[in-house]
């Protein structure tokens, strides 16, 4: 079995980690750190997004979907020589070059079955088991921030709050609306009518607070009205990204945002350099570029984490796609990230190395990454991390040095 340790800037890493702690502390102390979580629902094919071009078994497993080497037509983008990046991820490659992107590979949550829905539940609830908790790790982390938020600490870009952000800490949701705003009088009467309703009174107050902040986000939804469905979806996605930036760049707004992307469940005709998955990745990449641009100077204090519930089979299946798997890749980017690295304890793709003979094996626990980010970037104490945010996670030691010096 080939095992390799990748830390492209390994020599720097030790010193950088020390410095990072100090600078990150400044961000924590002033409360300027921003954190965005993007959930890729449907199980991202990590071996397509971050192909291990240097692995001797990669070509045989991926066959006609295998990406070519950098420089060849339709070839992967260059990362560190061993790993490449899918050609649709041009902005991510720029981030990598600017040392603002860390790629994590062969990682997985503690979940080891292959149900999307249980996989997403574990990804979001932060425990080792599906449905063990009804609240999300991100919400519990918000409750343990060193500087409690004044208003809502977090915002979900969508009509409803996903499990990862549900819980006791005050959070809200926002999504673009094509409907007319209500007059003050009707709102006041509804406020009275909801006064004795524990759920609706809180939701209404949150919605009003959020709308006040989002007021300046602009009304591009109207533009989307008559466009074809695919174009409409793109406009909505761009709108969600712009809104997220609009919330985060404010001094008095929420500092943590979460939103979903979908379309990653590529069972058939997944495509290679071009095709179904490539189109989704290109859209994601463009959205992240927009996020960076819209955040402006706040990008320097931002970390964006892209995660999915699990990976896909190492080999392509009989219908030029991939079925549900285990380990996959994740992306951590932003001005606050100590990037330019691929972090992977690569287990290899040989038949013996594959998990249950079919999937990329997990060598990195997602919770180690999450603990590292939450402690270094947001200043969540280790006691809270171990007991409240990620119960039963002592086997997952925090990954240090993820944040920038």
């Amino acid at each position: 079995m080939q095992r390799r340790e990748f830390l492209s800037h390994g020599a720097l890493a030790a010193g950088a980690a020390l410095l990072a702690t100090r600078v990150a502390f400044a961000r924590v102390a002033t409360g300027s750190a921003r954190f965005v979580v993007v959930i890729m629902r449907g199980a991202l094919d990590g071996l397509a997004a971050v192909p291990p071009l240097g692995d001797r078994d990669y070509q045989e497993l991926r066959r006609e979907l295998a990406l070519h080497s950098p420089g060849e037509p339709g070839g992967a983008l260059s990362l560190d020589g061993f790993f490449g990046l899918h050609p649709a991820l041009a902005f991510l490659q720029q981030c990598y070059a600017a040392r603002e992107l860390t790629v994590l590979h062969a990682l997985a949550s503690p979940y080891r079955e292959r149900s999307h829905f249980d996989g997403q539940d574990v990804l979001e609830n932060g425990s080792p088991r599906p449905h063990a908790l009804q609240t999300g790790w991100l919400n519990r982390a918000l409750g343990a921030l060193p500087r409690p938020a004044v208003g809502e600490a977090g915002v979900a870009l969508g009509q409803n709050v996903p499990l990862v952000m549900r819980g006791a800490a005050a959070v809200t949701s926002w999504s673009p609306s094509r409907l007319m705003a209500l007059d003050e009088d009707t709102l006041a009467r509804l406020g009275d009518l909801y006064a004795r309703d524990a759920l609706l009174s809180v939701r209404l107050a949150d919605a009003l607070a959020t709308n006040a902040i989002a007021g300046e986000a602009g009304d591009t939804a109207a533009m989307a009205g008559q466009a074809p469905a695919a174009a409409r979806a793109k406009v909505r996605y761009a709108e969600v990204v712009r809104a997220a930036a609009g919330f985060l760049r404010r001094e008095d707004g929420p500092k943590v945002a979460v939103f979903d992307t979908s379309g990653w469940d590529t069972h058939a005709n997944e495509g290679g350099a071009q095709g179904q998955l490539a189109a989704r990745l290109a859209e994601l990449d463009a959205g992240l570029a927009t996020l960076r641009q819209e955040l402006g100077p706040a990008w320097q204090d931002t970390a964006v984490l892209l995660v999915t519930e699990f990976g896909r089979t190492a080999a392509i299946n009989g219908t030029r796609g991939t079925d549900h798997g285990t380990a996959t890749s994740a992306f951590l980017l932003g001005g606050a990230v100590a990037g330019g690295r691929v972090i992977a304890d690569w287990p290899g793709l040989s038949a013996r190395a594959l998990y249950q003979g079919r999937d990329l094996a997990a060598t990195l626990d997602l919770r180690s990454v999450l603990k590292g980010i939450l402690s270094e970037h947001l200043g969540v104490e280790s006691g809270a991390l171990e007991q409240v945010v990620f119960p039963d996670s002592s086997s997952a030691r925090p990954l240090r040095g993820l944040m920038r010096a």
Binding site: F117, Q159, N160, S173, M180, A181, T186, R189, Y194, G318
Partner: protein
Amino acid sequence: MPDPIAAAIAANRFGLGARPGELGLIGADARGWLRAQLQAPPPTLAAADLRPSAQILSQALELRRAIQAQRKVQAADAGASAGEDPAQQRLPQFLRPIYTAEVSARLQQSLTTERPFLERLTQFWTNHFAISIDKQFLAGLAGSFEREAIRPHVLGNFTAMLLAVETHPAMQLYLDNYLSVGPNSPAAQRRARRAGPRIGINENLAREILELHTLGVGGGYTQKDVTTFAEVLTGWSIGGEGARFGGGEPGRFVFRTELHEPGAKALLRRHYADEGFGQGVAVLRDLARERATSRFIATKLVRHFIADEPPPAAVAALADAFARSNGHLPSVYGALIDAREAWAQPLAKYKTPSDYVISSFRGLEIPLEADRTPLAPFEVLGQRTWQPGSPAGWPDRSADWDGASALMKRIQWADAVGARLGNRREAQQLAPQLLGANLTDATRQAVAHAASAAQALTLLLASPEFMRR
């Protein structure tokens, strides 16, 4: 003994929301009103423009072939521009009106039916066997799938519904099974000799049948069972799709022996002889009889009709009814009606956006206008018909729907409805007709003292008791 709360529960929780006069019609025997809806055979949707899925699918396949042929010609044309391709719009232009007509017919049924409990059950089952129109052809097939695979079986047997669903072209397409090929099938062996691209198994449908349609996750199956079941299902396909395999009536389910993985197979402690199509049918029949399946279905029904956290006693009662009757669905619904818990908390369920829109339309007797598609409210409120986005279907808990932004959209939509209908509906009169014994003094007062007829209607639709069922 008259029980005013029971009537409100029957109409709003079991039904699709009270229409004016419905609570009076239900009267004292709420349970009897529900049971009566299970008597006659289920109605078929009556609308002139609804067509069978085989016809729709064969036309869509034909259209796609024509588009591809045209592209080839264009590609051969050296001077052809790489810009806008009008052909790309031809499939959506074909599928979209079908979707619109199907949604309209379904909504019309929801608004006018005298058996709203039956209609809610239909929607429950379509969501249990979820397909989603984000896969292109499904926009044209979702409605006919519900009409052909769900509706005829809502008052029948679970096994029959399961077989109808899994052999429906819409499900074969949605979960990719029509392309799945046994590694030792004649087709795969021919391919191996010619060294073409590898063809083989796609396990998507097999996994979701076990996880989402029958046993439920944690229902005792392994990865090996999933893979073996996928082999069992190879050859289940669609006529006219995948021209390289040929044969079959275009747009209809077909069993292709040349794709089927030969041999006897063992899964879930049972042995299945090599009998081609019959092998998969035998597995489905056995799955429908598993205890885990009865518990899984019972849990979902209880969550939908009683509470987000299903009371165990009610789940046990429904699971027993399912097992004892071998999946006879009216027996299961009977146990649901008889469950004490179903009548204990009148407003335990937060409405989904679809519930909210349909109950508003019913309550205010909003007619469907022939020249307007009724799609918008479902889209704006976040639950586009037949687009749950995943084979798990729409979620069924309050937390999935009660977000701040979602609430604000409901209120804004209620406000728009109020503005449109305010001077043509009497909110004060409607409130007790729609909410019955659930109407609170606070809402009664708010409606009575509203600044305008329009605002009164908005407050009624946005009231806490109208948000729930």
